[in-house]
Amino acid sequence: MNIVVYLKQFKEPQWIIGLFLIILVWIAGLLDMSLTTLFNESLIKLAMNGVLVLSLLPMLNGGMGLNFGLSVGITSGLVGMCIGINMGLSGLVGFLGCIIFAIGVACIIGTVYGKLIIQLKGREEIGGTFIGLSFIPIMNFFWTLVPFSNRQMLYPIGGKGTRPRIGLRPYFAGVLDQLWVVEISGIKLPLGLFLFCGLLATIIICILKSRYGRGLIAIGENEQFAEASGVDIEKLKIRAVIFSTVIAAIGICVYVQSYGFLELYDAPLTMVYPAVSALLIGGATNKRGFVFQVVIGTYLLQSIYLLSVPIANQLLLPEISEIIRSIIANGIILYALIIGGKRWKHA
């Protein structure tokens, strides 16, 4: 799609968010913050969260709406990583090994999640929300009872149950971030990280353009018509859910290596709504989403998140940045729901 055509599709929220970002950058400039450092960080933030946002695409294009049960995919990724860390994998090779474990776990959990999701015809969003929410306590049982042997993962006292927060410095913190970094006049480009994310994005584009992807998009556009033309809806939908779960599992691996800490228990829930609203800021509708929308939406939202913390600390109260973040994230989702409803009414 041509970039000019895309810009013409921008609606009010994109303009407002873009304007807000420009104002924030201007204030940051006035406060003598280093804009190059902030820009470098924003690039890392983009790649860090981008894969999680990408994972929403297969389900969105398959007519299953926004995946509010993203925490299922995230948690299965965390299980895979924990298995890897328990074996003591480290470095880039260890990171890739962890991703393979994560994919394996995500395939199993994704199949179950997909079987549940296809029962919820037309109500995938609300159903996914509660499947995601009830999956977290189940996994809390797992985290408490799982017999891991690596002492650095377990509670220091008692030695039973995993810690809520595991430091990754001895394993693979920042392996992708520091891979093939090119520096051009102060701006650091983490090429390794970008190549990895670009590879995933390319895989998604290729799959959506394949025979399977076209079938999926046909389901998203008109389910009855797709069924009449001989598409096996349930099979395709379950595969889309598995695909989404696998990408989300890889996404949390990328996020975690950049963040440096593995957060278990209830932490995955906090990542769902920012990811969904990033996709909506990029201009995705309730029916269709594209990879470039993911890139633009994630960059806008994450840059605002990044800038709001130091600015709020200097100018206002520290709490205000957290509040404004959640107002933006949830406000965008509400706006998209209302706009989607209006389209439905006119159709």
Partner: protein
């Protein structure tokens, strides 16, 4: 007028298919309450808690959460699913308490809390109704997002604006930096004012007759309210909004009124809850009420299409019995109270997820 087709009617029509349907419907509506009864009995035996203690707690929670659950029934009747934005009603109740304490109002405290709360909640309900009219078919996810958004706005007002943008007479409730309300406000003037009316002890169980009567009365009023012409219109909109528009019912207006009523009831419920507890957790007191209330309603056998007053009352007792015994049961069985806690939240969320999945399956059979 519209009549619910009952399982017996289906059997009369004959045919194995229909018998199967009614059987499935019977099992699926009874399955959740039965599961809760079995789990509660196992939990009660495993925890070793005395029946006295559990009965006391259940009665207390019946009073605390009763009206909040009743607030969920009317939106279900109007075909809007579960109203997860009852948290907004809870926030209105808390905001009313905070403003009365902050303004140093000395006379008619209770009345002013009630008036402020009702005014705020009707305005909030009106706005929610307007939003929900734009998102027909996706009301439930929208109410969840509205709840989150309202929570952020509530935090913005009481953590930043109070003291920052406008001053308040009572400076004792502000944080030491002068901006924002403290985490905890003592509602000593309101604590248990209604509880101790007509309280009796029956075999060691403290029973507040007035409060139980109040909750039951709200239930009965709602029950008869559904039979009034306005209630019939609500049910009609719930069955088919398009057709009720054609017979001259303003379905959008009805939906707005339904949301106002639901939010006002939720506010009343939370007022009762707060005066029972006597403490106000400013930033966390309103959270998760929507999940527990809807899980309790569904535990009583309601679905997202059908809910009655009896579902609310049975659900309250079943859900809260399980809720009280499970941490202690986790401690006794696995030597770890956290497991009981996880089981509790799994029960709350899992019940809702299960009801959503089951209900849509039922729809498939019907159409």
């Amino acid at each position: 007028m519209v009549s619910y087709y009952t399982p017996s009617l289906l059997v009369e029509r004959g045919g194995n298919m229909l018998k199967m349907q009614s059987l499935i419907k019977h099992i699926s509506t009874r399955f959740v309450p039965l599961l809760f009864i079995v789990c509660s009995i196992i939990g009660l035996l495993a925890s070793g808690l005395s029946v006295h203690f559990v009965a006391n707690e259940v009665l207390n929670r019946f009073i605390r959460n009763g009206v909040m659950i009743l607030a969920l029934i009317i939106p279900i009747k109007a075909g809007m699913g579960i109203n997860f934005s009852v948290t907004v009603g809870a926030m209105c109740a808390q905001a009313a308490f905070i403003s009365v304490v902050a303004m140093d109002i000395n006379r008619f405290k209770g009345i002013s809390v009630l008036v402020i709360a009702l005014l705020m909640s009707s305005v909030a309900g009106y706005i929610i109704g307007l939003v929900l009219n734009q998102v027909k078919g996706k009301e439930m996810i929208t109410t969840i997002i509205i709840g989150f958004l309202a929570n952020s706005v509530y935090q913005l007002v009481f953590l930043v604006c109070v003291g920052g943008l406008f001053a308040v007479p009572n400076r004792d409730i502000l944080l030491s930096r002068g901006i924002g309300i403290r985490n905890l406000i003592d509602l000593v003037d309101f604590r248990g004012v209604l509880e101790n009316l007509l309280a009796v002890d029956i075999a060691g169980v403290h029973v507040s007759v007035f409060m139980i009567g109040l909750v039951l009365m709200v239930g009965f009023i709602l029950h008869y309210f559904i039979e009034t012409p306005f209630g019939q219109e609500i049910r009609c909109v719930g069955m088919d909004a398009e057709k009720s528009n054609k017979v001259g019912i303003n379905s959008e207006g009805i939906r707005i009124k339904v949301m106002m009523l639901s939010t006002v009831l939720a506010t009343l419920g939370h007022l009762i809850y707060l005066q029972n507890i006597g403490m106000l957790n400013v930033y966390t007191g309103h959270l998760k009420h929507e999940v527990f209330a809807s899980a309790a309603l569904l535990a009583g056998g309601a679905t997202i299409k059908e809910a009655h007053i009896k579902h609310a009352f049975t659900g309250l007792i079943l859900f809260h019995t399980l809720f009280i015994v499970s941490p202690q049961a986790g401690q006794e069985l696995f030597n770890n109270p956290a497991l009981g806690e996880y089981f509790r939240s799994f029960i709350a969320y899992g019940t809702i997820a299960f009801a959503l999945i089951m209900n849509l399956k039922e729809n498939d059979i019907n159409t």
